[in-house]
């Protein structure tokens, strides 16, 4: 029996289901088949399979040998618009400047909450 108190949840679930079905229906004929067959796995699983088999803690910390290879890969992305680059710098700066404060705050809260 459906719990009447939870009717809002089921309404929301119905809306999301309808949205997903609509999107899938609209994309039914989209040219996504070849892409899906090329990379029919998640990015995390793909990276795990390619780069995490037989890996050691040392490899996680010391991965400098890949630098040249990665630099070449990034050189192919240089033709993007300046706004995208500025956006990238801005978000990178926001994340890396604020990250130490987040970790510091989390440590303080951890100590206060345990006490």
């Amino acid at each position: 029996m459906l719990n009447k108190k939870k009717i809002n949840f089921w309404r929301l679930a119905f809306i999301f289901t309808a949205l997903v079905i609509s999107v899938l229906f609209l994309l039914w004929n989209a040219p996504a088949g070849p892409k899906a067959s090329m990379m029919d796995t998640s990015m995390g699983n793909m990276m795990k399979g390619k780069h995490l088999s037989g890996i050691t803690i040392y490899d996680l910390i010391n991965g400098m040998e890949y630098q040249e290879q990665m630099r070449e890969m990034h050189s192919h992305h240089q033709g993007q618009s300046p706004i995208i680059f500025q956006l990238s710098y801005l978000t990178t700066a926001a994340i890396f400047l604020l990250l130490p404060f987040i970790i510091g705050g989390a440590v303080i809260l951890g100590i206060v909450w345990i006490k």
């Binding site: 809002n8 999107v23 998640s42 990276m47 390619k50 989390a106 809260l109």
Partner: protein, 158 residues
């Protein structure tokens, strides 16, 4: 009108989390690429921008919580995204893991494929757990989705 900090942060956090989830799952691989019509570039930009804002909102919540601790304010804030127990603590831990692994993906993309592989794997699987937990959270708290009745109409009934 009394606007509460925890209420505003809760919904900002929810909107940003939704944007991060949509863009993030669209980037996970071809099987979820349909979410944004296989436009991985759009997903990437939306994810980066939302991540920057998400970090700012998380820091604001942490600063607010530290400030409350300094003032010895132990009042339970029902809408706050972080807290010392229950789902608030779970959200806090998951948020920290997602931000740290996200930052690792950001750094390691320059030089360390093994680092990316590790961070991406953790980031992705924690996201699945977080998504499941959000669905459970909405189910448990769905009474909050009811639009509050006006005080005047209550008075009229009385």
């Amino acid at each position: 009108m009394n606007i509460r900090f925890d209420f505003v942060v809760h919904w900002l956090y929810a909107i940003l989390w939704a944007l991060l989830a949509i863009s993030g799952f669209a980037m996970v691989g071809a099987k979820y690429g349909w979410i944004l019509n296989f436009s991985y570039a759009t997903a990437d930009y939306v994810h980066r921008l939302s991540a920057g804002l998400f970090v700012i909102v998380t820091l604001a919540s942490i600063v607010y919580e530290v400030w409350r601790s300094i003032r010895n304010d132990n009042k339970y804030l029902a809408w706050h995204v972080i807290g010392r127990s229950g789902y608030q603590l779970f959200t806090f831990i998951v948020t920290l893991i997602l931000i740290i692994t996200g930052a690792l993906i950001w750094i390691c993309i320059e030089f360390n494929m093994a680092g990316i592989g590790f961070a991406l794997f953790v980031h992705e699987y924690i996201s699945y757990i977080a998504l499941a937990s959000v669905i459970w959270h909405i189910y448990m708290k769905c009474h909050a989705l009811t639009w509050p009745k006006k005080a005047d109409s209550r008075k009229q009934k009385a």
